[in-house]
């Protein structure tokens, strides 16, 4: 394929990416952001899959078998833990305006400049090899595609121009905005697009190899089974290198969190913490999808190129090429190109921010001469220093590629980078979960870990390319065998990655914890430790919980902001501040501690936390605060929040209580009305017999000569009315006792049969007088009920006398029955009277039902009988009701729980 065509296509592709990014940023400016979407977020995380995955996994699978899977298992295992670890890191970074991993560590340990610089240096040293393998992948894929052997001896070869091209592209891409906390929406969109492209193309390549070249998975496997090393490749190696699997999984678990590019896309570019929820399953799914065809392609390559000397890393491209599929090959080349460029762009942006904020700025801002001279050009210096760093990193990566990476596989170099960033794990994980970690612990652990990483992984690779004598590997430096880089302190039997990880992590963790326990934190550190570990407690109150004491003047703070943000943005920021904390604005007076913190955070977004700290303290007269004060201030703000919550809860309780009081009051009012009504009904009911007695007596007194017959009639009525009065009073008192709960029942086991017959006996005379047919039908051997004999008789008498009163006046018929049903004893009293209308059947159990409905004939009785019966039955845990068909009669029933033990006998 024509060399210049491929180069042209590559640059067209970059132009497409740029167009996409530009379009995404325009959309975002118009308020229709593409990036605030969990799918874009998850896809941008797939920047994890670089040329290493795209080309290297196949190479690894072809030479070492299943081992390639380890670095995808790690992130998959890590994903569920993101909710615990990554979410916390995201929250901390948002609150503290942290933009890089170096900033993160330095910020946690008191915004310490040295620590930030060291982390930056480790990152640069660790990531440059990784970037170099992307260059290598692009260069070798270009070579195999065009057949043009890269002239290794010529200095500005193709890969140099690729490196410079990518550098310029990244500069245009990444340094358009000054403040690093501002998200690069265009970049994220482009990265997400590249993730889709590389996945789709890789799967297409896999399908082509599996179904186009071979005849499906089975065919490849069958043919590959003939290969001599087949068994070794498709089984997990069992000759004791489980430790290699273990360390690779651990490495990749840490890499997915701490690689600068992962930190960039997962933390800095995160729009919404909730997007993590989707990414937690989408990202592992992506890893799974991109790995499906790795083994078929690897085995297919081994079969097709059994004799040829084709680098296994390039099988993906070599197979379609050898089949003459030039368009497909070009597409696959672009997929690999996109995997490489996405990694390079994001990594280089992250590294350049780190370098300018942690290496260059601290020097600039702490040397007064420079600071004063260039104070009005700081923004320009900052942007240009970043641009310089981008180019520097790419040139270094090119040099590494040229002199080292050429001799190693993609995966071997990549793992070295993984091991470098793994050195941050103790300081970060410890920093967000353990308040006691100190900056000396972090320094000791990280430095020693990095030195061991360098000695056990980088030094051997330098030996490999001839930069150092081979005796170091074989006999140890200066002949000290204990210091052999692959068998440090005599540790043997581990592969070199496991060996390096073991020693570096062992000493790193040990020193971090040990030194932390032996040293003390400064107040600044203590403050940050509190905020980091308890971020979910403090994040909402961060700005108001100022742990800062000193004097600052508003003009100083303002000029600081103007220097770094420019005049326009500084003014916007001040306005935003005043909107957030309204209050009198004194342009020349002392600055509020809140303003100082606010300004420091703004600066941190531009120049990193430690430089921002230096800048702010240069214009502020600070006083040292004791650790106790720090804790007190933080606790106070914490308490304020809990007091607020408490208040809110209290006021809600109050509102609820008021509501309850109101309803209770209404109920009381209603009860009061009922009581009034009851009272007036009672007095009315009392007045009628009283009136009669009074009037009759007076007439008797005034007319001594009355006829005998009239006299007797009068006296009889007086006696009857007096009886009625007595009965009424008794019943009213009864009712009141039941209603107030004062009524006591004298419970005893009794036979309902006895109650019925006693009641019937009491009314026998009345029944006979009225010539009523009364039938009593009670089941034999009924179980006992627990009841108050006199009260139950009262109920029965009431029901039967009602039946007598209301039954058919000509042919009265009453049936009283009793039987056992569903664990209850049931009693019915049925009459053949005119019945009760359905809507009345409940009301008749109310007090003075008769009195309220005087349509009913009221022969006798107080109107309280049924109300009392109802209360008696209910106090016995029973139930009373009436069924009636108007015109045919009524049937009153009640049930009482049977005494079960007695029922059994």
């Amino acid at each position: 394929m024509n060399y210049w065509v491929v180069i042209g296509v590559s640059f067209c592709y970059l132009a497409l990416l740029f167009g996409l990014a530009w379009w995404a940023e325009r959309r975002s400016a118009a308020g229709r952001s593409l990036v605030s979407n969990p799918y874009i977020y998850a896809l941008s995380m797939a920047v994890y899959c670089t040329a290493w995955t795209y080309y290297g996994s196949v190479g690894r699978a072809a030479t070492s078998g299943m081992e390639y899977l380890a670095i995808y298992i790690g992130p998959t295992l890590m994903a569920p833990l993101w909710w615990v670890v990554l979410r916390k890191i995201i929250r901390i970074c948002k609150v503290q305006r942290i933009t890089t991993i170096a900033d993160f560590i330095s910020s946690r340990y008191g915004k310490h400049v040295t620590l930030g610089s060291i982390v930056t240096i480790i990152c640069v040293l660790g990531i440059i090899p990784y970037i170099s393998i992307q260059l290598k992948a692009i260069a070798s894929s270009l070579t195999i595609l065009t057949g043009k052997v890269s002239e290794t001896e010529v200095f500005p070869d193709t890969s140099f121009f690729i490196a410079i091209g990518l550098g310029l592209f990244t500069i245009v891409y990444g340094t358009r905005h000054l403040e690093a906390t501002e998200r690069h929406e265009g970049m994220v969109t482009a990265i997400a697009f590249e993730s889709v492209l590389k996945l789709v193309v890789f799967i297409v390549a896999g399908l082509f190899v599996t179904y186009g070249v071979f005849n499906g998975f089975g065919d490849i496997m069958q043919q590959a089974a003939q290969l001599p090393d087949f068994e070794e490749l498709i089984t997990v190696n069992n000759d004791g290198n489980y430790s290699q699997w273990f360390w690779m999984v651990v490495l990749s678990m840490l890499a997915i969190l701490f690689l600068p590019r992962q930190f960039q896309v997962a933390v800095v570019e995160n729009v919404n913490e909730l997007h993590l929820n989707k990414a937690m399953w989408l990202f592992p799914l992506y890893l799974f999808a991109i790995n499906i065809f790795v083994l078929p392609i690897a085995l297919g390559g081994n079969l097709l190129f059994a004799d040829a000397t084709i680098d296994a890393d390039l099988y993906v491209l070599a197979i379609p090429l050898s089949e003459g599929q030039s368009i497909l090959s070009l597409l696959i080349y672009l997929g690999g190109f996109s995997a490489a460029t996405s990694m390079v762009i994001v990594s280089v942006i992250a590294l350049s921010v780190m370098m300018s904020n942690n290496l260059i700025m601290p020097v600039l801002v702490s040397v007064p001469a420079i600071k004063n001279r260039y104070s009005n050009k700081l923004t320009l210096i900052l942007v240009n220093s970043r641009r310089f760093c981008i180019l520097l990193v790419l040139v270094l990566a090119y040099l590494y590629y040229k002199y080292v990476a050429e001799y190693y596989s993609l995966v071997e170099v990549g793992l070295v980078s993984f091991a470098a960033v793994a050195q941050f794990a103790p300081a970060i994980i410890g920093g967000i979960f353990w308040k006691e970690g100190t900056r000396y612990g972090a320094l000791a652990g990280t430095i020693v870990g990095a030195i061991l990483w360098f000695y056990t992984l980088v030094v051997p690779s330098m030996v490999g390319v001839g930069m150092l004598p081979e005796t170091i590997l074989n006999d140890g430096p200066f002949g000290i065998t204990l210091l052999k880089p692959f068998e440090l302190f005599g540790l043997q039997g581990m592969d070199y990655i496991s060996h390096a990880m073991f020693w570096s992590m062992f000493l790193n963790v040990g020193l971090y914890i040990g030194v932390s326990l032996l040293t003390r934190q400064t107040s600044q550190e203590r403050n940050q430790a509190e905020v980091f570990v308890d971020i979910f407690k403090y994040s909402t109150i961060f700005e108001s919980s100022i742990v800062w004491k000193g004097t600052a003047y508003i003009p100083d703070i303002k000029s600081l902001l103007v220097n770094f943000l420019g005049k326009r943005r500084a003014e916007t920021a001040m306005k935003a501040y005043h909107r957030k904390y309204p209050g009198p604005i004194d342009e020349t007076g002392k600055a509020d501690p809140k303003l100082v913190t606010y300004a420091e955070k703004l600066l941190a977004g531009v120049i990193g936390t430690s430089s921002a700290r230096i800048m702010v303290s240069s214009v502020v007269k600070e006083e040292e605060i004791s650790i106790d004060e720090v804790l007190n201030i933080l606790k106070e703000s914490q308490q304020l929040i809990s007091i607020n919550n408490e208040l809110r809860r209290k006021s809600m309780e109050l509102r609820k209580a008021t509501e309850q009081l109101r309803t209770a009051n209404e109920r009381l009012k209603h009860t009061d009305e009922l009581k009034d009504e009851f009272l007036s009904t009672v007095t009315h009911e009392l007045r009628t017999p009283l009136t009669s007695i009074r009037a009759l007596s007076e007439i008797l007194y005034d007319n001594p000569g009355m006829e005998r017959e009239d006299q007797e009639h009068f006296l009889h009525t007086i006696v009857k009315e007096a009886e009625r009065l007595t009965r009424l009073i008794t019943q009213v008192l009864d009712l009141e006792r039941f209603d107030s709960g004062k009524q006591r029942l004298h419970l005893q086991p009794l036979q309902i049969k006895d109650v019925i017959s006693e009641s019937v006996d009491a009314l026998k005379q009345l029944v006979q007088e009225k010539n009523i047919d009364l039938v009593v039908d009670v089941q034999q051997n009924l179980p006992d009920v627990l009841g108050d004999r006199d009260r139950l008789i009262q109920v029965m008498v009431n029901l039967i006398s009602n039946a007598i009163k209301f039954c058919n006046p000509e042919q009265g018929r009453i049936i009283v029955s009793g039987y056992f049903i569903d664990g209850d004893v049931k009693v019915n009293v049925a009459d053949n009277g005119k019945g009760i209308a359905p809507d009345m059947q409940k009301q008749i159990f109310d007090k003075f039902y008769q009195a309220h409905n005087q349509n009913l004939l009221k022969p006798e009785g107080s109107g309280l009988g049924l109300a009392i019966s109802k209360r008696i039955i209910e106090t016995h845990q029973g139930r009373i009701w009436v069924e009636s068909e108007p015109g045919k009669g009524s049937r009153f029933s009640f049930v009482l729980p049977a005494k079960v033990a007695a029922a059994a006998t």
């Binding site: 009628t688 009136t691 009669s692 009037a695």
Partner: protein, 127 residues
């Protein structure tokens, strides 16, 4: 006391037999022509039929209450000049006021003195 040819017609209305008993006895003994009604409907029938000069009215009765019966009497031309006396257990001020508003000549609360009631009725019919 009264001349026989001027025998006055009295309608006594109450739903309680035990109250009708002394009223009926007292009025008859004192020379009135007594009619009895047990509820509002009966009262109106009796008014139409007998055109009594005196009506003694309970208020709380089934169907038509005493106030309505009184209003009916007051609206009836033939009943002009008839005396209406409420005899009731309702003793609140508002009830009494309402009684006079609907056109009562006298309002007596229960329990009552037959002697006093009789005197009042005589005063009303003679004056």
């Amino acid at each position: 006391m009264k001349k026989q040819n001027e025998k006055l017609k009295v309608l006594v209305v109450d739903d309680a037999p035990s109250i009708l008993l002394p009223l009926e006895f007292m009025m008859r003994k004192n020379g009135y022509d007594v009619f009895v009604a047990r509820n509002g409907t009966e009262a109106i029938e009796s008014v139409n039929k007998e055109l009594p000069q005196v009506v003694i009215l309970d208020i709380m009765m089934p169907d038509v209450d005493g106030y309505e019966v009184c209003q009916y009497i007051r609206s009836k031309k033939e009943m002009e000049g008839a005396k209406v006396i409420f005899l009731t257990a309702k003793s609140k001020d508002v009830d009494i006021q309402k009684g006079y508003e609907v056109g009562a000549d006298l309002y007596v609360t229960k329990p009552f003195s037959p002697r006093y009631l009789l005197e009042k009725i005589q005063e009303l019919t003679e004056g």
